[in-house]
Amino acid sequence: MIALGAHALPSRAHNFAYLDEQTKRMIRRALLKAVAVPGHQVPFASREMPLPYGWGTGGIQVTASILGADDVLKVIDQGADDTTNAVNIRRLFAKTADVATTTRTEDATVIQTRHRIPETPLREGQILVFQVPIPEPLRWLEPRETETLKLHALADYGLMQVDLYEDIAQYGRIAQSYDYPIEVHGRYVSSPSPIPKFDNPKLDRNPALLLFGAGREKRIYAIPPYTHVKSLDFDDHPFTVEKWDRPCDLCGATDSYLDEVVTDDKGGRLFCCSDTDYCEKRRAASAEKGVP
């Protein structure tokens, strides 16, 4: 019996970035397929990771497979670097990969994100890794995987359009505010992950490579740099984004996605940038200029 005495336990040094090289190779092959067919979901043999399924294992596996010793990693959740989930994932990579980390978007080579795209525009050579809970955009309309596979293969997306029609008929508008469905490269309808629709326009012809990992659902997909991405709509009910009627209370930005913070129980509210790095940079720049 491969018996270990009650107290003799194996000790393992982790491979770089936790995953073994065979697994990374398997994931990279899936990534290559995904990049070759933009927006198409590629199945992959997802592994259990030290964080639970549903908490970013897909994103983590993608990042682990592409991370090299010279990379600079940024991890955000809800746009912020120091939410607990982002901190946890960054610590995992710091521990197992000893890679440099940063909170500055422009300094990162790999950015792993949950539910937001950074406000600072990305550039060529950067990779944005999205954490995806439900990769299948048709899932709420058709629960069967066997059927959705056929619909994608036949580019049979009438059902999706019917859903949008119904929104307009019942509510006067398309009632999808996040995880807003997109058409990639004129072919596959995909889920952009639960980013607010505010971020959808950033997907279109982005110079960076966009990778999407769903660990629990075991799917990977990609949007290569400069790919045309369109948010689904009707010609006479075009896609629109959220707007606020006030700027960020901390830095004054009028072009970023704002979080609403409850400050007291009398209805007091404060609005500030969801992207903490963006907000900080703007505040630092005003401080330098001596603007209060």
Binding site: P52, E145, I195, R216, C272
Partner: protein, 368 residues
């Protein structure tokens, strides 16, 4: 003045210290040892190994201790550990026919060659709390057991039926045929039986129990009987490429359940009994039985039966059986979702303004 909240890292570090303290509990109470867990909570260890998909009693015991007794959490720990292990190869099929039996029963015949060996089971106990157990042990008389016949191969009950041609033949796998592996390739539907069984073997016991139970209550009834349950040790053999012949690398305890089910026959297949199969590590008998019930229900497609019940729905059962996935996704709702929620707030507020506006035609329209 509102300052953006920092300190997520510090909060996590403190939370971890608190977990360690809470895990230990009152320092005046002796700390649990892995040996105690392995010896006295064996059924917990068996479950964690089975659903963690890793046979190692010590590691399972460690996981249980670290998880403070939360078995699904312990299963997660073991699975995550499994991810780091290199894969050396596939063993030869385990020969349960040659099992060294600790327990073997059949409900289909009063007596069978090899006998009904009860083994250590709760089945005949009265579920009365035994307050003597509240005191730590004084020596108890050891149980009487029949002398074991080490080399006797006890025939399968299914084979007894098979001799009369009354039960479908067990599936035969060509020796060189590649064995599909659920952990190497993601599940695609329709799934072949080998992959379904792998999924069920590591599936959550509670979920499979409920699914199996539902078939007994009319949701896809298959008229099951326990043909045979065996529990005991078997050898695990592996053929290293350098040697070219099999060597035994381990001895493991497994529980195997053969369910015998009804089948009326079709144009091409005669009326006969059909099979459901369950296998689990250790003495996880309830799991093996539930697995066998669900296995049979999922065979409805290949047996040409009408699929009317959830337990017969392959996609439904196999997509939701893994408690590591389920627990992760259910609990992920605790993660911050405030950005998407903000989006929803903006939408609902806008729709509400319109709704209110529609109902107060005399008020001036609000500026956009």
């Amino acid at each position: 003045m509102y300052v953006a909240v920092k300190g997520g890292e510090k909060a996590i570090a403190n939370s971890e210290r608190l977990v360690a303290e809470t895990r230990r509990g009152d320092p005046a109470v002796p700390e649990l040892s892995l040996a105690q867990i392995q010896q006295q909570l064996t059924l917990a260890v068996d479950r964690v190994m089975t659903e963690g998909a890793l046979y190692d009693r010590t590691l399972a015991a460690l996981a249980i201790k670290q998880a403070r007794g939360d078995l699904i959490e312990a299963i997660f720990l073991l699975r995550a550990y499994r991810t780091t292990l290199p894969r050396l190869g596939d063993s030869l099929p385990v020969e349960t026919a040659r099992m060294l039996l600790q327990r073997r029963i059949s409900a289909t015949f009063k007596d069978v060659p090899g006998g009904q060996v009860l083994g250590p089971t709760f089945d005949y106990t009265h579920r009365l709390l035994d307050f003597e157990l509240a005191e730590t042990a004084s020596a108890k008389p050891s149980a009487e057991s029949a002398p074991a016949e080490p080399e006797a191969t006890v025939p399968r009950v299914a084979d007894l039926l098979g001799r009369e041609g009354l039960i479908e033949a067990a599936p035969v796998q060509a020796a060189e045929a590649p064995v599909p592996d659920l952990t190497q390739v993601p599940l695609v539907f329709p799934a072949e039986r080998a992959l379904r069984l792998q999924n069920l073997a590591r599936g959550d016991e509670g979920f499979l129990l409920a699914m199996g139970y539902s078939t007994q209550r009319g949701y896809g009834h298959t008229h099951p009987f326990v043909g045979e349950i065996r529990m005991g040790t078997v050898g695990v053999e592996y053929v290293p490429p350098e040697l070219g012949f099999p060597i035994e690398v381990a001895e493991i305890t497994v529980t195997e359940c053969d369910m015998v089910n009804q089948f009326r026959g079709t144009d091409t297949a005669p009326p006969q009994f059909t099979r459901g199969y369950g296998l689990a590590f250790g003495a996880a008998e309830r799991k093996a039985m539930a697995m066998a019930l669900v296995d049979r229900a999922l065979r409805s497609r290949e047996l040409g039966e009408a699929r009317t019940a959830p337990a017969q729905d392959e996609e439904f059962v196999l997509s939701h059986s893994d408690n590591v996935e389920a627990s992760g996704f259910v609990q992920h709702l605790k993660l911050p979702h405030y950005v998407d929620f903000q989006s929803e707030l903006v939408l609902v507020r806008a729709m509400r303004r319109e709704w209110d506006g529609d109902r107060k035609p005399n008020l001036p329209e609000a500026a956009e």
